[in-house]
Structures are given as C-alpha cells and as structure tokens.
Amino acid sequence: MEKGYRAVTVADIVRRAGIARNTFYENFSSKEDCFLAASEFAVKEALRRVVDAAAKVETWPGRVNAGLSAFLNYVASEPALARTCIVEALSAGPAAVERYERSIQAFVPLFRMGRKVSPHGEELPGTLEETIIGGIFWIIYQRIIMGQTEQIEELLPELVEFSLTPYLGAEAAKRAAAEQPQATAG
C-alpha cells in the first residue's frame, strides 16, 4: 500500500502477492473488498493481542498500560498493515470511514472500564473513549506518515498518561504511566 489506497489497482495487488488475477477474484469481489478484509484482519489481530496482554494484569490502569504496549508493538512490527488501516482509512471514502469507526469501537470497552474507577463515572463525555482512541490512532498515523515507525513504541508513557488522565486525574495517571507495563509479549 505504498501507493495509497485509491491509486492501487488489482493488478498491483496480484503482482505483489505473486498470485493470478483469477485467484484474487476467487477470494475478493473487488479492491474495496480486499482492503476491507485486510483491515478487518488487522483490527482483529490487534484486538486479540491487546486483550491477551491486558488480561494478564489485575488493575485497570495496568491493563491500559499493557494493552497499549501490545498495540504499539504490533503497529511497529507491521507498518504496512498499520498504514493501510489507519492512514488510508481517513482518505478512502465512506466504506473506509465505517471501518475506521468500527476499529475505534472495538477498543472502547477496554477504556470504558475506567469509568468504574473514576469518581465522575457516567458524567464524563459520552464519546470520551472514542476521543482517546481516535487520538492514539492519529498520533500513530502521524508517526507512520513521517516515517518514524520505529519510534512508535517510545510513545507508550505519553499515550498511557493521555488515556488515563480523564479517569484518574493527572497525578495518578502520570504515576501509572511511569510504571513498566507488566505484559509486553504479543
């Protein structure tokens, strides 16, 4: 996907994959279909890794820390896939936007648990979780665009702090962010 979603043709895809055009159409009805399948796969895989990592930790702030660590690790290890799902999602039309929003939704429950530990719980803005996840996606997107994929994992403490602050307050969020994540294995 180094050419960008709209410029890519089915011919590009089959050449890169080393398969016949027929094989492509046996599996996908169109380029859109293939793109959506790729992004669906990536979101599922990312979510699986995040949930696995988070499950190994007891506290919610620790889960966010571990989950985000696993997520950044996955993105850094699959930059092309990340580019497809995050970068192209914000330039590939309505179907991609649908996909982008669904990937954000997939991660919402992990963050929403924070409302249970927050003194303000349900008073917090209804779209707070979307805002946090969308913000994390954007930061990653910017780093991919600037070719700084290797530095993505270094963002962990700042993104953990950003995610936890609305629920725990600034002080506790900073403390939690400073801790080493307890489970980084993907």
Partner: protein
C-alpha cells in the same frame, strides 16, 4: 457563489470554485479538467494559464482552502480572551463553516485521494489546531505537566470525528460534537470539573452572549458584570412572541449595525464574526442563518447603507428646482447622513475599498449612481462649456468628492464633514458654471 461566477470575477477564482463544486459532486477520480472548465464557463486554455493539470488544480484549491481555514481558526481563537472560550469559538467556527459550505466540506474529503501532498497540506492546518489546543498549558500552574502529544491527539481525534460525520453527509449532527470535543480538550489542562462544565454548555457560544435578559428582574441590571453587552437589551432572546419575519428582519438589521460597529472598532480585516455577533447581541448560529461569511454580511451592509444614502440624496435633490442648488442640497444630505452615522460612514467610504473585489465592484457602481445628478447639469450650458467637459467629467467629480470625504473620515474628522460643503459644491459646480458663479452658490447661506 453566484457572485464569483459573474464574468468580472477573476478567472482563477472561478476555476477554483468550479473545481471544488465538481469534485464535491463526483470525487477526485471522476473530476476532469473538461468538467471543471465547463462548470466555470471557461475553456481549457484558461485552466492551463493557472494550473499545471488536474492534480495541481486540486492542490492549489486545497492550499487556498487550508489558508482560509487557518486564518479563520486564528480569527475565531483571537475573538475571545479565556482559553476554553477561545477553543469553543474555534470549534463553532469549524462546525458552522462546514455546514454553511457543503461543497467545501465534501471537497476536503475528496481531495485526500490526491495523495500525500494533499494530506501534508491538511496536516499543516492540523498543526495550527494542535498549537491552539496546546496553549491550554498556559492556564496551568505547572505548564509542563501535560505531554506535548496530548494536544496532537486531541486535534487528530476531533478531526476524525468531524471527518466521519462529513463523509456520512451528517453535517447537521456536527454541533452535537462541540460539547464532547470541548470537554475532552479541556480535561487534561483544566481538570475534570472544568471538563464537565464544558459538557453542560452544550453547543453554545460563551455564556455572556446568551444570558437571558428577560428572565432577569429589571432592578438588578446595574449589578450585572462588566462583560455583559448592553445591546442585549434591544431584543430579549428566547420566546418573545414576535412574528418570525419581524425577528428575522430585525436580526438582519442588527447584524448589519453590529458589523458597522465592529468595523468602526477594529477595521474590516480585524473584524471577526464574534465581534459582529457581540455587537449585534445575537448568536453565531443566527449570524450563519443570515450570512455565509463576513464578506457576505459586509456586502449586505454596504448595499443597505448605499441604498439609504441614495434615497436621501435623491430626495434632497428633487426638492430644489434650480440645478446648482439641487446639487448643493444633495451633497448636503450626503454629508448630513455621514455625520449622523459615523460607523456607516466609515463602512461605506473607507472600509469598502479594502474589503475585497466584490465590494470594490459595488463601490464603482455606487459612484456611477451619483453621476446622473451631475450630468443633468450639462443641459442648457453654452457650447464652449460643453466642449470643455469630457465624457468622464462627472465620474471624476464624484470620485474626487468621495476621496475628499474618505480622507476626512480616515483622519477621524467625521463630525466635521459638513464644513466641507462649500468646498465640495464649488469644486463640483465649477466645470459647469465657471468658478465665480460656483463660488457664489457655494457661499450662499
């Protein structure tokens, strides 16, 4: 949008408008130079004079939109003093601009298909937005406590949420995002209490523009805070039982008066929508119900003022039978109006010349509208006088008169304009009557 399609509108601007419209309807891939030039009513050569092909056309239009957008973000931000209010003004500006111009909104989505260069231009605007959010740290006791990526994440997330609504065609749902986005943006800098407050403010403008006057007991009005604009008393907001047309008409006039006041205070370039709505004591939403932009409001104001001015000059002129005295009465009425309405005087005589091409055209036609009063002075003049007059004498007289008036206004001497009457009468009558006779009419009581 029709204004920019008149043949006199600059070619490049017409092409850009046409490109935006076609791209909004058909998307990047299906937009062709042929469709764009057809929409603009121009030919391929015209396009080639301004752009190196479709891609360049898209990027140029996108660059212009981004520059406009950055300027309007800054203006909205600077229209308030307190950081959350500033950010709120920015959010409202963005949301209402997208709703007011669906073609530009759709174009902003479609242009991204042009690739990395289009994204890079957008991201410059995003950096400006990021810096406006990041300014929130200046409100903190320990400004360095918040990571710098926070503002970037908040800006990007806001973009994603707005983008998704625009792609879905749900621009009407955009105002609902304002409290949510504001709350999230304020939280890291000012804490959760301030964030919840933002949530409760809904999609409204900062409080002081919308406090209900009618609900306040009359005798507490003196104790209201200093920020409270007295203009609000003109028409209590909310359910006042006035017919809708009256309110709409009244609002439009108030906006025009508000624009004139704001311009007198800040000049045209320095005037923001927030200035106008504050002076008019109406909401930003109301502004956008009447006008798509500051320019459009200005043009409406200019037309209103000039219509009034023409009416008064015409009436004064008609009341005198003798042509030289009719001219004198007409000029006197003009000066009288300008002295009585110093804000409108500044608007139509000074700011009109700096407010951009649309108004400059109108300024020219306003000058033309006064020409016939002088032209009627040619009737019955001796041949040698008529020979001295050129085809453009009247235009030059009106232009010269306007220039003298506007220089006085710029110098802050609007109140003394009526003292110009004898000079202006002598100056304008001399070509027709000779200097001696002209001076005599000018000095009459």
């Amino acid at each position: 949008m029709l204004e920019t399609r008149t043949p006199a509108a600059p070619e490049r601007a017409r092409l850009v408008e046409a490109l935006i419209e076609v791209a909004a309807e058909r998307g990047y891939i299906d937009t062709s130079v042929e469709l764009v030039v057809a929409r603009a009513g121009l030919d391929r050569d015209a396009f080639d004079r301004h752009f190196r092909g479709k891609y360049d056309g898209f990027l140029s239009a996108w660059q212009e939109i981004n520059e406009e957008c950055m300027a309007s973000l800054m203006r909205a931000y600077n229209s308030e003093d307190y950081w959350p209010d500033r950010l709120r003004a920015v959010a409202i500006e963005v949301v209402f601009a997208l709703r007011a111009d669906p073609s530009r909104a759709a174009f902003a989505v479609e242009v991204l298909a042009a690739g990395d260069a289009a994204r890079a231009r957008r991201d410059m605007t995003m950096r400006v937005l990021t810096s406006l959010i990041d300014a929130g740290r200046q409100e903190m006791d320990e400004p360095e406590r918040v990571p710098h990526t926070t503002a970037e994440a908040l800006a990007g997330s806001a973009y994603g949420q707005i983008y998704a609504k625009v792609v879905r065609g749900d621009t009407d749902g955009l105002p609902q995002l304002i409290p949510q986005l504001m709350s999230a943006a304020v939280m890291p800098y000012l804490g959760v209490e301030a964030a919840l407050e933002e949530l409760n403010r809904g999609s409204n403008m900062p409080d002081r523009y919308r406090r209900p006057v009618a609900a306040e007991p009359a005798d507490t009005s003196v104790s209201q805070d200093a920020d409270y604009p007295p203009e609000l008393a003109r028409l209590p907001p909310g359910r006042h039982g006035l017919p809708r047309e009256f309110v709409a008409h009244n609002q439009r006039e108030r906006l025009i008066a508000g624009l004139a006041e704001a311009i007198a205070e800040n000049g045209y370039a320095g005037t923001t929508i927030a200035h106008i709505t504050r002076h008019a004591a109406v909401s930003r939403r109301t502004f956008y119900e009447h006008f798509a932009s500051k320019d459009e409001c200005f043009v409406a104001a200019y037309d209103t003022v000039m219509a009034e001015l023409r009416e008064r000059v015409g009436q004064a002129f008609e009341q005198e039978d003798d042509w030289p005295r009719a001219v004198k009465a007409g000029i006197g009425a003009m000066l009288g109006f300008l002295v009585a309405e110093p804000n409108l005087a500044r608007l139509c005589m000074v700011e009109a010349l700096v407010a951009g091409p649309v108004v400059v055209e109108r300024y020219d036609s306003a000058i033309q509208s006064f020409v016939p009063y002088f032209q009627s002075g040619r009737e019955g003049r001796p041949a040698d006088v008529l020979e001295r007059l050129s085809a453009t004498t009247e235009e030059a007289l009106v232009g010269g008169m306007m220039s003298l008036i506007s220089r006085r206004i710029i110098a802050g001497k609007t109140a003394e304009l009526e003292s110009l009457l004898p000079d202006l009468v002598e100056f304008t009558l001399t070509p027709y009557l000779g200097s001696e006779e002209a001076a005599k009419v000018a000095r009459e009581g």
